[in-house]
């Protein structure tokens, strides 16, 4: 499809906050957008509204030349006429149909002929060729996900919507599918929106990320950029930035802000937020390096602290440091740290990101 997907709507509930969304995604340069937020933040609502499974009371959704929703004109295109692929959290495979019949369902429903070739091609891309005659009750969780993906992709949708695509998988399957899923989606070149609350999933799958909190979109940007530079305190919390330290500004000049927490001073390359009275330094756990006592480095913040806890988490180990500020950092699992040991935490100035309270979001504009 030409052009882009314009989203600008509001869903109002009798209880709980309204869900608002204003976004623009290109069909011509299809990317994988991660819709990230805690459960209850309204991210699934946005996904369902895009599919047409929910009908927002106010606003507009436009897909290229087609208008899917316009509340002023009373236009609402039902899911069956949107040509959107939707992958349910539990995959929702039809239990009474074979894998082949499941995949071909959308093709038959749209009256397409010669389904076998397309079904076969999708099965070979997703490596499920041998499952054609099985029923969903007879295949594994990972295989179900591939079948559901093949079924959603078969009618060549203009937009693919994935609702927590990995949550029904456990253990090793999850990690494997996570990396495979991105390569499949990139191979197919389709505009995709993925809902997730999992950081690793967001980082592995996404090109762009939309941070959703209490019904509002807080920040939109590239995955790397948003995780490094959250827009404000709630966004940083929502993204799970491990260290959020309340600080005060000591001095600020071009490209260099000095802040203090207690007696410790930290240098940051980010400009101070507008309201200087309420500022937090957001430091990701993986940005902190632990070094021996004698290390001296330019352009870096050095904090001497005592290790207060060592928590192995598989590939990395989480280490907590006492003192002011107390910090959480993650180091490679092999490192031999123990409780009580003195270390020097090295924090590059560009990893000290300053955030403030959020700027109030303006009410949504009326479409048209």
């Amino acid at each position: 499809m030409d052009g882009s997907l314009h989203i600008d709507f509001e869903m109002i509930y009798r209880q709980g906050p309204a869900v608002r969304a204003e976004l623009r995604m290109s069909f011509e340069d299809p990317q994988i957008w991660v819709l990230f937020g805690r459960s209850g933040s309204g991210k699934t609502t946005i996904l369902r509204a895009l599919a047409g499974l929910e009908r927002p009371q106010k606003g507009e959704i436009r897909a290229g030349p087609q208008i899917w929703l316009n509340s002023n004109a009373g236009v609402f295109v039902p899911p069956k006429d949107r040509n959107v692929g939707f992958l349910h959290q539990d995959y929702a495979l039809f239990p009474h149909m074979t894998v082949d019949d499941n995949i071909a369902y959308g093709l038959h429903a749209r009256g397409m002929k010669n389904c076998a070739a397309r079904v076969g091609r999708l099965k070979s891309i997703l490596q499920i060729d041998e499952l054609g005659q099985r029923y969903p009750g007879q295949i594994s969780g990972g295989q179900k996900q591939r079948v559901a993906l093949a079924r959603a992709l078969a009618p060549q949708p203009c937009l693919l919507l994935l609702d927590e695509p990995l949550s029904a998988l456990d253990g090793p399957a999850r990690g494997q599918v996570r990396s495979e899923l991105r390569s499949w989606l990139k191979q197919l070149g389709i505009l995709t929106v993925v809902v997730t609350h999992d950081r690793a999933e967001a980082m592995t799958l996404g090109d762009k990320i939309i941070v959703q909190e209490e019904g509002e979109i807080r920040q939109v940007g590239s995955v790397d950029e948003v995780f490094r530079r959250p827009a404000d305190l709630p966004t940083a919390r929502c993204l799970g930035v491990e260290n959020l330290v309340s600080v005060r500004v000591v001095s600020s000049s071009a490209g260099r802000t000095v802040v203090a927490v207690g007696d410790t001073q930290l240098v940051s390359t980010s400009p101070p937020p507008a309201d200087e009275r309420q500022i937090w330094a957001a430091i990701r756990a993986e940005a902190i390096r632990l070094a021996s006592h004698e290390t001296v480095e330019d352009q870096a913040n050095l904090i001497d602290a005592q290790v207060t806890g060592v928590y192995p988490e598989g590939a990395v180990t989480r280490v907590t440091l006492g003192g002011e500020p107390s910090l959480v950092c993650s180091v490679l699992a092999r490192s031999s740290l123990s409780r009580g040991q003195m270390v020097r935490a090295v924090i590059p100035a560009e990893e000290v990101h300053l955030v403030g309270r959020p700027v109030p979001v303006e009410p949504i504009k009326k479409p048209g």
Binding site: P79, H88, F94, P95, H96, A109, Y135, G137, A152
Partner: protein, 226 residues
């Protein structure tokens, strides 16, 4: 044994079940999926035959299809006959009397179909009609069979409504239950016992088959693993 009554009863039950199936699909579908706030009124209305005495139900049906009613007049104009005390009138009464037995299991079955399957079907471009036949119905086979069997078995044994609406005309409205009543009144206990036993056996076999099927593997897709 009164074979004429048995054959007539089987005819009434078959017609009733067939009509209930045709009415039942749309009505149960509507009851299962409507978001109408006053849906409970419709549910209560459908369930009424469960609690009303057959005489009350029969009385209203008699009035509704009588020669002074619009339905009765329409039928008389088309066929030149009267509806009450006829086979057709009996079938109409039976349909109303057995309505909840068909509707309730079917509605429950439709309503319990996983919502995400229906949504998946819609997102894949299927119409409501296609979604019903390809997804909802195959997932509700158990409930539909139960509705069919229950309405058939229930119609076999009805008495009060038949007496009110159909009367007691051999080969027209004299069903098995009426026949048994007649035999007892005439002190023909042996004939009554034979027909009763027959009805008991048929009803038991029908119900046992239904429950047996419900507990067993229905279809290949319920097989969990290979």
């Amino acid at each position: 044994m009164d074979w004429n009554a048995i054959i007539l009863t089987a005819h009434v039950a078959a017609w009733t079940t067939g009509i209930l199936l045709i009415i039942g699909f749309p009505l149960s579908y509507w009851l299962a999926y409507t978001k109408w706030r006053a849906k409970f009124m419709a549910e209560a209305l459908v369930a009424l035959p469960l609690v009303l005495p057959p005489t009350v139900l029969g009385f209203y049906v008699l009035i509704a299809i009588g020669p002074n009613s619009p339905i009765g007049q329409l039928y008389e104009g088309m066929s030149g006959k009267l509806l009450p005390f006829s086979f057709q009138g009996l079938v109409i009464a039976s349909v109303i009397y057995s309505l909840p037995f068909a509707i309730q299991p079917m509605t429950n079955a439709f309503a319990s179909v996983d919502r995400s399957l229906i949504e998946a079907s819609q997102c894949l471009g299927a119409s409501r009609w296609r979604t019903f036949w390809k997804v909802i119905l195959p997932q509700s086979v158990g409930g539909v069979v139960m509705g069919v069997v229950l309405s058939f078995a229930h119609t076999l044994g009805e008495f009060g409504v038949v007496l009110m609406v159909g009367g007691n005309i051999p080969n027209e409205t004299r069903t098995v239950a009426i026949s048994i009543y007649d035999e007892v009144q005439a002190l023909n206990y042996e004939a009554a016992a034979q027909t009763s036993l027959f009805l008991l056996a048929v009803s038991f076999v029908v119900l046992a088959t239904m429950y047996g099927l419900q507990h067993k593997v229905w279809t290949p897709w319920t097989v969990r693993s290979t």
